[in-house]
Amino acid sequence: MERKQLLSHDGKTLAALYGALPVSLRSSTNRFRNALMYSSAYLALIAMAEVVVVSVILDLPPTPAALVVGLTVFAIYANDRLADADTDALSNPGQAAFVRRHREVLYVLASIAYGVAVALSVLGGPLALGITLLPGVCWVWYATDWIPGGGGHARRLKDVFLVNTIVVALAWAVTLTFLPLAFADAAVTGTTLFVFVYFFLRVFTNTEIPNVRDVEGDRAIGVSTLPVVFGVDRTRHILTGIDLSTAGLVIAAVSAGYLTPILAVPLLAGLTYSLGVTAFVGRYENERLLARAAECEYLVVFAALVVAVAV
């Protein structure tokens, strides 16, 4: 009788455990997802995918460049989120809370990540080191009032209209294009220049889309962005124009022989995806999701590229 009760009790415990398992699993998944999204780790993965895309387009051998870019992106964006934690509290409270809660760990991880990235870049030679240091220098320049030799309270580049987006787009385009090139010790060709312009335009678009979400916060702290200056509707038109221009650039590159048609297809697929996302700018309430969707354009390109190469 006692044994039966015990078994019955055990059965209840097991049932409770099984019942709790999905909750626990869901909680762990949520924590992992938050860590991935809020810490900028997902951006590091996207950046690594972009380096793979560049390496394939430029026909470069595998190098540590993807790892260097991933670590650098994680470090720079984690630092950026730490610096903007207070202003993000209005536009992105979940991320701001996560960053504040893990401030110390995030800063130490970002520092170590950047240290490892710089060390690995030394293997790629002086150019690779310079390129890896560039985003770090830009970050200091971009996010703080401290300008070497300025000696005064110079206006933050982040606050100047278009300069903020251009600096970000340039840093990304230079890193994504020239770092794999430096590691492979390859020469600059017409295809290289095409890749550079392509990524500059893509990053420009993807940097301005989140600004639609932050328009109120940016206006409050005096940061000039496209949506702040031109309004949301005109921003959508401008970004659509940039997408179409990029598509024209891809077609021109194929015509000029800088790009094979098979490699142009994934890029055009990504642009089609981007046009779709851009069409929702100002028309879709969940602007944060829209910004994330825009950042995932490179994953679409990566997936299409894998399919294209496999075919």
Binding site: G115, A119, V122, G125
Partner: protein, 555 residues
């Protein structure tokens, strides 16, 4: 290993960068950047396959090499609170030799290296160079700055604060590791010719600096305010302070000290003490055991107590003295007032009241005897007040003397004897007393409390009763003496004034007896409390510490 050096150095530099404007953060970033640059350029040197390429990287490496000692010195100065030396002109001054070195390196001057060649070792090409005269100049300069930077940190190794000891130890390990590696290289103790292992030592440096930053809160707990605080204390001390060296020359003086000597800081510094100080000070500096301790200011009439303290080195040799001037003018005036008042209470008032009583008795005729008695009673009360006041001054005098342990039993006997003599019909009951010692200052306290109990009892003297009970605490550290009377109790108003500890012209106590009890008990290290229920009189509780009996002469 070189890549590990770069990774750790960069991470530590970023962590230090975040700590700006904490003292030492920026120089530490510069130091770590120099280490990373040196290591990275060494990798490029090792990767290069031609003599020209290797020479280029070896030469530009000097930018990182020379940045390290300069940054190290300024880090050490700023971190230990000597930030007055961390100014652009000093940075520029210390950077002259490094700048010349970089210029010579970039010009590939023979002053730095007389010859350069490639050697093959285990299939790898290494650059070997013969040092020129300037190489030894910059080497000596680097080691000198390394030593200068280490000295302030060495002071912290023996600091009382554990974090500061940990920080300084980690920082010294950080500088010693590459230093040792470099010394071995310069001494030719490295088996691979042309391979300078100094950057390998930077890996240990990086770990040490990271440890200092994270484990020992390098910028979280900083010793930098300490020297400034000590300086501030010296300069703003209300007492005059003069530091003289072994040759009696004034090496430091604060504003108060200069004002007392009637001079200025600028004029006094570097002067022999004999030139600026009065002779009376010199007597005491020459003979610290001299009797005379007070001097008068040169430009005021204030009196100063002079203290001379020897400054000794680690071998107990006198290397100077600190002379301090403490203004005792007010204290001396109080002392004088006290002595005069004491004489008035002890002598003059008693004499005058005796005269009043005598003449009142002489003038009284049979019909007017009552008025004469009133005058005599009033004179007696004045004399009593004077006696109380004198007892109070005596009690305060004893506050400056060491405690005088006496057996409580004999103290109570002595305290009660005059009361029994004055009120022979009153009943004074004293319970058995424990064998404990208390401060002798309590004798007038108990005399007054018992007297007070009898005086304020409205019943005839024969019925007035005062009981004394003694209770020793369980641990034997304190003793409580309960003095209970049958009177109407002490007015709450009187108790409030006593507890507040101050009187005003409008709110004051009716006499001096309770004040005497309060002050005497406090001087004995205890406290007075009251227990009044309004029906069974008042209990005054005197709680004082038990003292250790003095050793008898037989011991």
């Amino acid at each position: 290993m070189l890549l590990v050096t770069v990774a750790i150095g960069t991470a530590a530099a970023l962590l230090a960068w975040r700590e700006r404007p904490e003292p030492g953060a920026v120089p530490l970033v510069a130091l770590l950047a120099g280490q990373c640059l040196w290591s990275a350029f060494l990798v490029f040197d090792l990767q290069a396959s031609t003599l020209d390429a290797k020479l280029f990287w070896a030469n530009v490496r000097w930018i990182g090499v020379v940045a390290i000692p300069v940054a190290w010195v300024f880090f050490s100065l700023e971190y230990t609170g000597r930030d007055r030396y961390v100014q652009p002109r000093y940075v520029a001054l210390l950077s002259i030799v490094p700048a010349i070195t970089v210029a010579l390196a970039l010009a590939d001057s023979s002053l730095l290296y007389t010859d350069s060649s490639l050697v093959s070792e285990n299939g790898a090409l290494y650059l070997t160079r013969d040092p020129g005269p300037w190489f030894w100049v910059i080497a000596a300069y680097t080691y000198l700055l390394g030593l200068l930077g280490a000295l302030p940190l060495l002071e912290l190794i023996w600091h009382d604060s554990r974090p500061f000891r940990g920080q300084s130890a980690a920082l010294l390990v950080g500088i010693l590791a590459p230093w040792t590696a470099n010394a071995l290289f310069l001494a030719g103790a490295i088996p691979v010719p042309g391979l300078d292992p100094t950057p390998v030592g930077f890996a240990i440096s990086g770990v040490a600096y990271l440890g200092a930053l994270t484990r020992f809160q390098l910028f979280g707990a900083s010793p930098s305010p300490t020297p400034r605080a000590r300086r501030l204390l010296f300069e703003q001390l209300p007492d005059g302070a003069i530091v003289i060296d072994a040759h009696d020359v004034i090496v430091d003086i604060n504003e108060s000290g200069a004002a007392i000597l009637g001079t200025s800081r600028r004029s006094a510094l570097g002067q022999p003490i004999r030139v600026v100080a009065p002779e009376s000070v010199l007597v005491q500096t020459d003979d610290p055991t001299a009797e005379q301790r007070g001097v008068t200011g040169r430009h005021d009439d204030r009196l100063y107590d002079v203290t001379v303290t020897q400054i000794t080195d680690v071998r107990d040799r006198t290397i100077g003295r600190v002379i301090t001037f403490h203004d005792v003018s007010e204290h001396v005036r109080q002392q004088q007032r006290h002595e005069v008042l004491n004489r008035v209470f002890r002598h003059n008032i008693r004499t005058e009241t005796n005269v009043i009583s005598s003449y009142a008795t002489l003038l009284a005729d049979d019909d007017d005897r009552g008025a004469a008695a009133k005058i005599t009673d009033s004179a007696a009360r004045i004399e009593l007040l004077a006696t109380r006041a004198r007892e109070i001054t005596d009690v305060f005098d004893r506050a400056h003397e060491p405690a005088d342990p006496v057996p409580l039993e004999s103290l109570l006997e002595d305290a009660l004897a005059p009361v029994r003599e004055e009120y022979p019909d009153a009943r004074i009951e004293c319970d058995p007393v424990d064998d404990v010692h208390v401060d002798g200052v309590l004798e007038p306290v108990f005399t007054n409390l018992v007297e007070n109990g009898i005086e304020h009892d409205p019943s005839p003297e024969a019925d007035a009763t005062v009981r004394i009970a003694v209770e020793t605490a369980d641990d034997g550290d304190r003793v409580r003496v309960h003095v209970t009377d049958d009177g109407p109790g002490i007015d709450g108003y009187e108790q409030t004034i006593l507890e507040r500890g101050a009187e005003t012209p409008l709110e004051h106590s009716s006499g001096l007896g309770l004040w005497l009890a309060k002050w005497g008990t406090e001087i004995a290290g205890g406290a007075v409390s009251f227990d009044t229920d309004g029906r069974h009189g008042t209990t005054v509780i005197v709680e004082v510490p038990v003292l250790t009996p003095p050793r008898s002469t037989d011991d």
